[in-house]
Amino acid sequence: MQILKVEDLSLQYGDQIILDQVSFSIKKGQIVGLLGPNGAGKSSIIKILAGLVFPKNGRLYFKSKLQNSFSDLREYCGYLIDSPSFYPYLTAKQNLNLIKKINKSDLKIEDLLFKVGLFDLNKKKVKHFSTGMKQRLAIAQALLRSPEILILDEPFNGLDPNGFQDVLNLLEKLNKDGITIIISSHLLNELEQFAEMFILLHNGKIALEICKETLINSKQRVAFTFENKPSSKANEYITKVDGIFTSDFKAVIHLKPNEIAEVVNTLVSIKSTPINVETLTILQEHYLEITA
């Protein structure tokens, strides 16, 4: 079931085009990754969906119903926009209570703080929180409305590996509870771990839209590095499988994931064992092209 559909979304600041007729749709329960280098337009999409920025053009459908404005989506969504910000002179609980009051939410603050692992710190002022703690508090804030969609802009910024894993686990848990998640990030590897659909943006346009299933089953760019110059037999084999040599010691072949092992085995059998095998998905390849 389609939960969100955006059509012809355009944004312009003066003469500068930020988004150029961007259209995409998202299914209920999906985790969608908005990817792209800085300035690609991903944060602008998030801010439009949050009602913070007014687009030049565009239509928004929520559960197939056309909305009057993008701000209408706020009723159904929880947001984490950029670096999480709270009133530093208030505690975690007091901050959440303010948002709870606006939303007339029935949820218990203690339950939410427990859910995001901040229950023990509910009386600590936010100015003493680490970035990871603020990030988790921001997710708690986003959950106050019992949202159907969680929209997160760069939620992994400033997190150490433990903090990253904590947030990731939390998001996966929320998704299992049925919440659709839209997440923007420039960290491709992190997003690839758990997103189910990817929208790659470049210069305000969608450069690639691909779901995880297609991504996994499609051919990948596989780079084989050899210690010595490969034998003539190996050269012949690599050419046969449409591979090309990018240097004397490195060959690149586009292969489906299940074909990689077979190629490696063949290379071993003809005594040209690669010392390193690097794979790049279509998404990673596109991303590298864009960011290069």
Partner: protein, 278 residues
């Protein structure tokens, strides 16, 4: 709407900044009282020297009512400064903390949020001015007692003791309106620049500039006076003129009301079309 207003008031009265401004005001009032308690007689006998040559003055000239009036005069620049430190922060503080993103992603209209903020700004201004009035009056009355008052505004004004308190009350109400007008201007600057310090500097810059221009009662600047908000703000003093010029005061009140409405209107226009892109 009520919920949002409650939240705004909770934030306002949870901030140390609010109480610091109250405490500074009270301290300033007490310092003025203490200064006049210690050296008041000497200062006033010097000031009243020309009067003593021509009039026989009987009774307690240096009394609590006069001190209350003088305290308000002394602090007439300090009061706006202290007020806008808090009122600008009600608006630009959200941008500085980044909390504006949290507020605007809640399912509330921008107009409701701004209305709640404006009401809390007005409530704070009223609280502040009431504290000013109470602490200008009560300690000075306790220390110096009450009597008729001699004031110099457009000549010598003799204010009967019995009429002082109503005059003081009306002057306070007028001062609240004046400070709301000044805060509204500062609020607009705070929304425009999204920065408390810039809004305070700009508002105070205008206050100082207009006050300076106002001092040139003759010459090229004299025609500008009716267009300066400082000229109208100062009209609270007219409540201490023997025959209160209500028409002049009403004109100034209308000017200040229009100024408030203009800046509040501009703030709604600005806030409702503002992109929060940072």
């Amino acid at each position: 709407m009520i919920n949002i207003l409650q939240i705004e008031l909770y934030k306002l009265f949870s901030s140390y900044r609010t109480y610091i401004t109250f405490a500074i005001t009270i301290l300033l009032m007490l310092i003025v009282d203490l200064g006049l308690y210690s050296d008041g007689e000497e200062i006033f006998s010097f000031l009243l020297q020309p009067l003593n040559d021509n009039f026989y003055i009987e009774g307690n000239i240096v009394n609590g009512y006069l001190i209350a009036y003088l305290a308000l005069n002394t602090l007439w620049v300090h009061i706006p400064v202290l007020i806008i430190i808090v009122t600008t922060h009600i608006f630009s503080g959200e941008f500085e903390y980044g909390t504006i993103r949290i507020l605007l992603t809640q399912p509330i209209s921008r107009s409701s949020l701004l209305t709640a903020k404006i009401i809390s700004m007005i409530i704070y201004t009223i609280c502040f001015m009431l504290i000013v009035a109470v602490f200008a009056l009560i300690p000075s009355v306790i220390f110096f007692g009450t009597s008729d008052v001699i004031i110099f505004i457009d000549g010598i004004q003799f204010i009967q003791e019995a009429t002082f308190l109503p005059r003081f009350f009306y002057a306070t109400v007028f001062a609240i309106l004046a400070m709301i007008a000044f805060s509204s201007m500062a609020m607009y600057f705070a929304l425009w620049f999204r920065n408390t310090l810039t809004a305070i500097l700009l508002s105070l810059g205008l206050l100082i500039l207009f006050t300076l221009i106002q001092t040139f009662v003759l010459g090229i600047f004299s025609a500008w006076q009716p267009f300066l908000f400082t000229y109208h703000i100062a009209k609270w003093q007219l409540f201490f003129v023997d025959e209160i010029p209500f028409k002049t005061i009403l004109n100034s009140a209308l000017f200040l009301f229009t100024m408030s409405a203009l800046f509040i209107g501009l703030s709604f226009w600005k806030f409702n079309k503002m992109n929060i892109s940072e």
